[in-house]
C-alpha cells in the first residue's frame, strides 16, 4: 500500500508528497511520499544511504527540498514557517550539545530557543530519561548512550505533537532501549505521533504501528505492521527430531522449508513460509502424513521482506557479512 501523490492529507500528522532532494549529482530523495497518521508510532525503515536522514533534515527544516511538499497536521510546511516546528520535537543524527555544560544547563540552553518550555519540564525529563543523578555533570563526560538519552529529552522538551527521532536506539544499552520503547509507546497512546527512522528491523518491529520502507530515495512500501508481518509471515511447527525429514517432505508443497532447528530435547522447529491464515492447512498436511506437531508459532519475516523491497542482497554467509569479506586476508 502506497498512497498516491495528491491524496488528501487531512487526519495525518505528516504528509509528504513527491519530495526530491539532490546533493550535486547524488539523488538523495527521488519523489518520496509518506502518510503518517496521528497518534501512533511510524517506523521509517531503510538501508544505509536510502535517504532516511535527508528526509529527517527536511522535516526538521534544516534543509530545503528541490521539489515536493510537506504537510504538518494538514497544513503546508514551507520555508519561513519555522513556528510550525513548535509542535515538533526532533533528534536528528547524533545528539548535539555544548560539551562544557551540564546536562541540565544544556536543556536550559535548548529551552531558550524556539518553542516555549513549561516550568519544571527539564527536571521531569531528566528523571524520565534516567539522567537526574548525573544532571550536573558536564556532557563531555557522558557516554554515547547517555548523550542519546539526553537527546531524547531534548526532543521532548516542548511536549511536541510530533516527534522525529533518527536512529534513537543508537548507543543505548538494552535497558535503555526497553525504556525508550516504553516511553515512545506511551507517547503514542497519549495521542502524540512518533516518527522513528531506523535500519534495525527488530527495533522497528517491536515499536511501530505503521511502517514505511524507503530505498534509493523512494517509498517502496507503507503499511500497518500487522499487515506487513502477515504478508511476509511464516509458521513455525515443532516436531520430533526423527520426524524432521518426513515433515519437510510433507510441508514442501507450501514452499521451501528450512532445515530443522533442534531444541536439544528431542524436538525441532521447522519454518514454513506461509501466513498464519494457512495454519490449519499446515497442521492437516502433517496429520495426513501421520505426524502430530507439539507446538506452533506464527512469525513475521520482516527481514526477508525488507531485503526483497530494498533490493539488498540476502546475506549468504551469516547476517551482516560484507561482500568482500571472503577476499580479505
Amino acid at each position: 500500500m502506497i498512497d498516491h501523490p495528491g491524496q488528501p492529507t487531512a487526519g495525518l500528522a505528516l504528509g509528504v508528497r513527491g519530495l526530491r532532494k539532490r546533493y550535486g549529482s547524488i539523488v538523495a530523495l527521488d519523489g518520496l511520499d509518506l502518510s503518517v497518521p496521528r497518534g501512533l508510532v511510524y517506523g521509517f525503515l531503510g538501508p544505509n544511504g536510502a535517504g532516511k536522514t535527508t528526509t529527517m533534515r527536511l522535516l526538521a527544516g534544516l534543509i530545503r527540498p528541490d521539489a515536493g511538499s510537506i504537510e504538518l497536521f494538514g497544513r503546508p510546511f514551507n520555508r519561513g514557517d519555522r513556528r510550525r516546528l513548535f509542535d515538533v520535537g526532533a533528534l536528528i543524527e547524533t545528539p548535539s550539545f555544548y560539551p562544557y555544560l551540564s546536562a541540565r544547563r544544556n536543556l536550559q540552553a535548548l529551552a531558550s530557543a524556539g518553542a516555549p518550555v513549561s516550568r519544571g519540564r527539564i527536571e521531569e525529563l531528566l528523571d524520565l530519561v534516567g539522567l537526574h543523578a548525573r544532571a550536573a555533570d558536564k556532557v563531555s563526560t557522558y557516554s554515547l548512550g547517555m548523550k542519546q538519552r539526553l537527546g531524547i529529552a531534548g526532543a521532548l522538551l516542548s511536549d511536541p505533537q510530533l516527534l522525529l527521532l533518527d536512529e534513537p536506539a543508537n548507543g543505548l544499552d538494552p535497558a535503555g532501549i526497553v525504556a525508550m520503547r516504553d516511553t515512545l509507546r506511551h507517547l503514542a497512546r497519549s495521542g502524540k505521533t512518533v516518527f522513528v527512522s531506523s535500519h534495525i528491523l527488530g527495533e522497528v518491529r517491536q515499536l511501530a504501528d505503521v511502517v514505511g520502507i524507503i530505498a534509493a530515495g523512494r517509498l517502496v512500501r507503507e503499511a500497518p505492521m500487522d499487515a506487513l508481518l502477515r504478508d511476509s509471515g511464516a509458521i513455525r511447527v515443532r516436531v520430533r527430531d526423527d520426524e524432521v525429514p518426513q515433515a519437510q517432505a510433507a510441508l514442501s508443497p507450501f514452499g521451501s522449508v528450512g532445515p530443522g532447528r533442534t531444541e536439544g530435547d528431542g524436538n525441532s522447529w521447522l519454518s514454513v513460509p506461509v501466513g498464519r491464515e494457512r495454519a490449519a492447512e499446515v497442521t492437516r498436511a502433517l496429520a495426513d502424513a501421520g505426524m502430530y506437531l507439539s507446538g506452533m508459532e506464527t512469525e513475521g519475516n520482516l527481514e526477508a521482506l525488507f531485503l526483497e523491497l530494498t533490493g539488498s542482497p540476502e546475506p549468504s554467509a551469516g547476517e551482516g557479512t560484507f561482500k568482500g569479506l571472503g577476499r580479505m586476508q
Partner: protein
C-alpha cells in the same frame, strides 16, 4: 530576550571566554610589570623615554587601551570565530533551528552576547592594565600623580566605548569567517590568516589597508595601538582619523553580522 540572556550565560561559563581574558590580562600585566621592574637598566638607552612614558599616568591609560585594542583585536577574531564555529561543529545551531528558532535571530542574539561579553572583558582587562601600569610605575620609581587626571578620566568612557567597538568589529570578522566556513577550526585558522594578511598588506597598499577592518579597529581610539604616543618602533603607520575610523568600524561591524545572518539563513544544515 531569553535567548540573548541564555547566550550570555553560556559564554560566561565557557572556558574560551576566560582563557581569552586571562591571556590578554596576564600578558598585559606581565609586560607592564616587567617594564617597571627593568626600568633602571633602560636609563640612557635609545628610546627609553618612550618606553618609560608607557608607565607614566595619565598617558598610561592610553597605553593600556592601545595594548587592549591592538592585541585584543587578534584575540577577538579568534574568540568570535571559536564561538560561531562551534555552533556548526558541535551541531548546537541545528538543535535551535529544529526547535523553530529564527536562523537570523539566533545568529544576531549570539553575536550580541559576544559583544556584551567583550564589553565586560574589556572593562575588567582595563582595570587589570591600570593596576599593572601603576605597579610598574611604582617599581620604576615614576610618580603616579597623573592617575587621577580629571581630563583623562572624563574622556576614558568614550575611549573605552570606541575601543569596545573596535574589538567587537574584529570579533564580528572572525564570527563571519567561521559562519562562512561552518567550522570552528577553519574559522579560527582563516581568521588569524586574515588578520596577519591585513597587517602585511600595509607594506604594499598603505592607503587601502587603513580602511580594512583591523586597521580601522585600531584607529578608532585615536592612539597608536600597542604602545601609545607612537611607541618605540618609529613613526606610526598611516591610519584614519578616529572619527572616520569609527564610521568605517561600524560599517564593517554591521556588514559582518548581516553577512553571518544571511549565510545562516540560506544554509543547508547537516551534521
Amino acid at each position: 530576550m531569553r535567548l540573548l540572556l541564555d547566550q550570555i550565560g553560556r559564554l560566561l561559563r565557557r572556558p574560551a571566554s576566560w582563557v581569552t581574558f586571562g591571556l590578554i590580562a596576564g600578558l598585559m600585566a606581565f609586560v607592564f610589570i616587567v617594564i617597571g621592574a627593568t626600568a633602571q637598566t633602560l636609563e640612557g638607552a635609545q628610546g627609553s623615554a618612550a618606553v618609560l612614558a608607557i608607565l607614566t599616568f595619565p598617558g598610561a591609560y592610553e597605553a593600556v587601551l592601545g595594548f587592549l585594542v591592538g592585541l585584543g583585536g587578534l584575540l577577538a577574531v579568534v574568540y568570535g570565530a571559536a564561538i560561531a564555529g562551534s555552533e556548526w561543529t558541535w551541531g548546537t545551531l541545528k538543535n535551535a533551528i529544529a526547535r523553530g528558532e529564527s536562523r537570523a535571530g539566533y545568529v544576531i542574539a549570539l553575536f550580541a552576547a559576544i559583544a556584551l561579553v567583550l564589553a565586560l572583558g574589556l572593562v575588567l582587562a582595563m582595570a587589570v592594565g591600570v593596576v599593572a601600569a601603576f605597579a610598574g610605575a611604582t617599581l620604576a620609581g615614576i610618580p603616579t600623580d597623573g592617575l587621577s587626571d580629571s581630563a583623562t578620566l572624563s574622556a576614558l568612557p568614550e575611549k573605552l566605548a570606541r575601543g569596545w567597538l573596535g574589538i567587537t568589529e574584529a570579533g564580528a570578522i572572525g564570527f563571519a569567517i567561521a559562519t562562512f566556513t561552518r567550522s570552528q577550526l577553519a574559522g579560527i585558522g582563516v581568521g588569524i590568516a586574515t588578520y596577519f594578511g591585513e597587517q602585511f598588506s600595509t607594506i604594499f597598499f598603505p592607503d587601502i589597508v587603513k580602511y580594512l577592518p583591523f586597521h580601522a579597529a585600531e584607529a578608532v581610539i585615536g592612539v597608536t595601538p600597542g604602545f601609545g604616543d607612537g611607541g618605540p618602533g618609529g613613526p606610526p603607520p598611516a591610519q584614519l582619523s578616529a572619527d572616520v575610523a569609527l564610521v568605517v568600524v561600524i560599517i564593517w561591524l554591521i556588514g559582518a553580522v548581516a553577512f553571518s545572518a544571511a549565510v545562516t539563513q540560506r544554509a543547508e544544515i547537516s551534521g
